[in-house]
Symmetry: D2
Subunit: 346 residues, 4 copies
């Protein structure tokens, strides 16, 4: 089959590889009908993810049809249309038992396109299929389900739910890339009184308004503190979701929260940030970090199925599998192309 | 001043009474600019509330302007436009310390229009003004704030919050009177996948659809169980809010919930219901009852102020104070008049 | 092998049956080294549990050694000493994903000794072994682990945790049979200020004092309300755990709680109880019912291993397998024999 | 009266000052019968707390008898024995309404001995007496109640409760000064499987064992990571309470927690710490900071009253008021004197 293969830093190419085979009775083989590229794939390509070795098929998000299952698989079978989660779950370790699949100790977690061959391919082997693939309701389109493989759960679980957004809250989201937009869209599920989007690129703030931001601040030209204070009765935000991943954005998050604020970091950080406990100690802050578990997928699927959530507006570009290399270029140049999510279909 | 006075069962009349005077340093006197009638007022009128004695000025919901405050009042002062909560709070007892004002042990709770003269009058004395009156943001209209004196908090706190409505849930609301409609409207704040309204009057179910119900079932003509099963993958509802107050509706609520369901009773019950623990024991149910605390008023006011909640559609009739007796008739005949909330203004 | 077999109402006998065989790749076969009898087994024997048909090997609690596992089993293997949970868990259904194994939709739940042959036998087949058997730490004795198959989790999860016992609470436990005693012992883990045990048999109240009750009330001779009021500043209990299973005990539970009380029913109820919503409505009660999930087993095992919990005092009698029929008699006559838990070993 | 007065950096002395007078109808005047010195007082003395100006009477912890109350005070009166909380609460601001008194916006919070004259005096004026003084049960001794003015609530609320200690958890407490010991003592209320105390002074680790630590590690001589891993099945601690207040201890806390750990900082930090989000991001950590609210005082008083908690072992030295200056010296030299809490009585 054809698949996007990592051949070392800076080198990825659509390559002929052998079809995946089942190696465990809990596996399923899925024919990929829609897949996408994640910011993490760009980090792999940049050589920043040391656990990915040359020869690896990339990709951890897919929707497709089951073509084969191992003998221990009970919940999906050949012909089933499924969402493949970016996070595999053994289902029985300490973390899986409390639905923290991202921390799976039994061989799961983020393995697809990292330590296992991934989903940017015609076929993908899905480990622990009973807990890692979700049968799709009839009314849910491939594209919208695909946004649930990782992106929406990341913004929702690691941002919105961990921060405890509540009706009436003032919520700040720092960073208006795909994860930040997913956080805004799913923060709306809890009816905050205001969502303030902060980014240093005006083009991204335009998108933010479409994804639920009531107010936008370009922090390249203005300090967001006065705006946030003004809409929060002088106190500061109830919740800050940090989705930009830089030391200065986590420090900004801490400055924007009111005493008692919940601050959730969803951004991928490459460097340590200073934690001003000397100043923040007295502020009753709660700061959370983490990985998507995709434990929210069943609930999010119900929201798709009932038409209450439409993540398709995250999709800016669509390509055929044959154009995969070009799709990487478009996605990597998002500042110029405006790419949020690109969808690849056979 | 003129006030609606309870003169004994079946007898209430617009009567000349003395203006209220402050009797405690924590009191405020408020000039009433909008008030309304509650189903409980009809129960008082029917002689069913023994704590209300003849001569009492009725009413526990008001919006108005502070004209005087006691020397211990810090947070509101003359000229402030305020929402008067139906629930007064001493602020220091064990229950008030955890924001369960409805259970206040220090002289508060539901006292207005019950053991204290109430708000269906030109002026009302508000006890514990610091904790029982809320200054209104400039952009919030009297009428919409008035719905927060008791009705929206009842549906929201006792129904939606206590039942823990969560994004993607299937929610059933039994009873489409004002409290049931308030529950539907505020359940929407948490983005359930479906709200199913159940009532035995078709006219009320029409209103339910306007307040957020996706599906309605007239249980005078059809058992709602199959419908609820069908929209919940065969399991039953995640949440049932019982807002009808009859033994058979609480029993229906227990039948409609899935194993693990949270069932919140908001209805006023006049008779005991049978609790089929022999059948329900194995169902992991959680059943809650209770009183509004109005602890959610600040958050709901923020939602009004940001335009995310519009409770004015609960208001079906408007009258001048002089028409108060007629307003009672219209409200009491809601089956004929379609009255939900009637608003009285000077 | 020899096993206790249900031969119809009133008839159970130690019988020669075929050894169990694996029928699924997720199964394990465990050699039973300690087992016990549950009150539910007596109900089966009385013919009250219609899902149990003649020929069934009884028993759902065991500790033993794995002798064989199916090819899909990852976490336990031959030679491992394991605790067999009374509740089997498929691990991937909606309920298992949130650790509510008692409601498993995928073929688990309480199946051992009910719809599958059980653990009162030399060998038992354990379905879904990865999620339904727990490897034992070296320092934990068979007998103490056995109390975690169902009894302690029932008192702890369905009683203590669901009711939310909190440091400083006044806790009432109604019923001082094995489940009530398990609730008292595990309520102590949260340091309530007082535990009040209520039972109508003085002998049981003596046991209650050994399991953590500070105060006991024989409700055959005295109304417990004044005592509970007195130790709770006049308010009523913060938490009531109902472990007696009669209509009058659930009604007593509702009377003993303070406004805002959490009331957890752990008792097995054979008849409906009256729910006085007309009186309780205004009391902000939360009433929960349910089944043990045994989701707490890993935490309870850590407490056994560190010596912070000693459930062996629940064991009043010990027998060899050959004496199984006599053990049933002793257990069934607990009023005379004082039996709490009887342990059977080869 | 005689009182300990701050006369500028390094200068504090027992000084004659005027008796306090009520300035607000919500005030109470309390005759101090026991008071103590806090680490914060030493920071004031070192000139590090800029909000404290010369002439201020120090001290924020007291037990005594009410001698006078303002006209708005309802819950305490002359002759009542009371605990004076270190945290005053207006009772009606946004934070007080949710029992976060430490963040009071209405004139409370930590004011005693900081911006108001304090409790190291014969008499103290207590603002907002209804919410800031607690009547003592008859059986509770002055000394033990005094430990609830701030110390136990700090360890319990900011450490144990905010971190969510749960039965069976492995808990690490870094720092074995008074706050760390209070955290250990109150962590025991939730029955962790193990408490590991980490400190760089062996003498303090001896105390730790008396306050509930099962295992101690002197991190001046050994890295605590292997020990914590070993008692936690290789994973790391469930909860880390950081009570030492240095950048390296917060970084150690982050290293000691397992993925998903809850880390509560109770220490007073003078400098920023590095937050290794680049490494910790993937670890699902929750980090909390904060101030004591003393909202737990009623529950802790119930535990004292029922004899389930004995904080008197925190008291190492007792002095008469006349020896106040000496008491400061003893407390400031705790490394030599072994002082934990010193109690001063008339």
């Amino acid at each position: 089959m054809r698949a996007m293969v990592y051949h070392g830093p800076g080198q990825t190419a659509l390559t002929d590889v052998r079809d995946p085979e089942m190696t465990d009775e809990a596996d399923a083989i899925v024919r990929v009908e829609a897949t996408t590229i994640c910011g993490t794939d760009l980090r792999i390509l940049a050589g920043e993810v040391s656990s990915v070795t040359p020869g690896r098929v990339l990709g951890h998000e897919a929707v497709g049809t089951v073509v084969d299952v191992g003998s221990a698989v009970r919940t999906v079978g050949p012909g089933d249309r499924v969402l493949v989660s970016a996070v595999s779950a053994c289902g029985s370790c300490r973390y899986c038992r409390v639905a923290r699949y991202g921390q799976c100790l039994g061989g799961g977690g983020w393995v697809l396109g990292r330590t296992f061959d991934g989903a940017q391919a015609e076929y993908v082997r899905v480990p622990f299929a009973d807990t890692s693939a979700h049968r799709l309701p009839g009314g849910v389109a491939d594209e919208e389900a695909l946004m649930l493989s990782e992106l929406l759960p990341a913004g929702y679980e690691v941002g919105v739910v961990r921060a405890g957004v509540w009706p009436g809250d003032v919520v700040v989201v720092i960073g208006s890339g795909p994860v930040g937009l997913a956080a805004m869209m799913t923060a709306r599920l809890f009816s905050p009184s205001r969502i303030v989007a902060v980014d240093h690129a005006s083009s991204r703030l335009g998108a933010a308004r479409e994804f639920g931001a009531d107010i936008t601040v370009n922090n390249a030209v203005a300090d967001p503190v006065p705006t946030v204070r003004q809409v929060s009765g002088g106190l500061g935000a109830d919740v800050v979701i940090e989705a930009a991943g830089r030391p200065e954005t986590i420090e900004l998050a801490l400055r924007l929260g009111r005493p008692g604020a919940r601050i959730a970091s969803v951004g991928l950080h490459g460097k340590p940030a200073a934690l001003h406990l000397d100043e923040q100690l007295t502020s009753d802050i709660t700061l959370t970090t983490g990985l998507a578990d995709t434990s929210s997928v069943p609930a999010l699927l119900r929201l798709l199925d009932s038409g209450q959530l439409d993540p398709r507006k995250l999709i800016t570009h669509r390509f055929a599998f044959a154009e995969f290399e070009h799709a990487y270029d478009v996605f990597a140049s998002s500042a110029d192309t405006g790419a949020l999510k690109v969808v690849l279909t056979p």
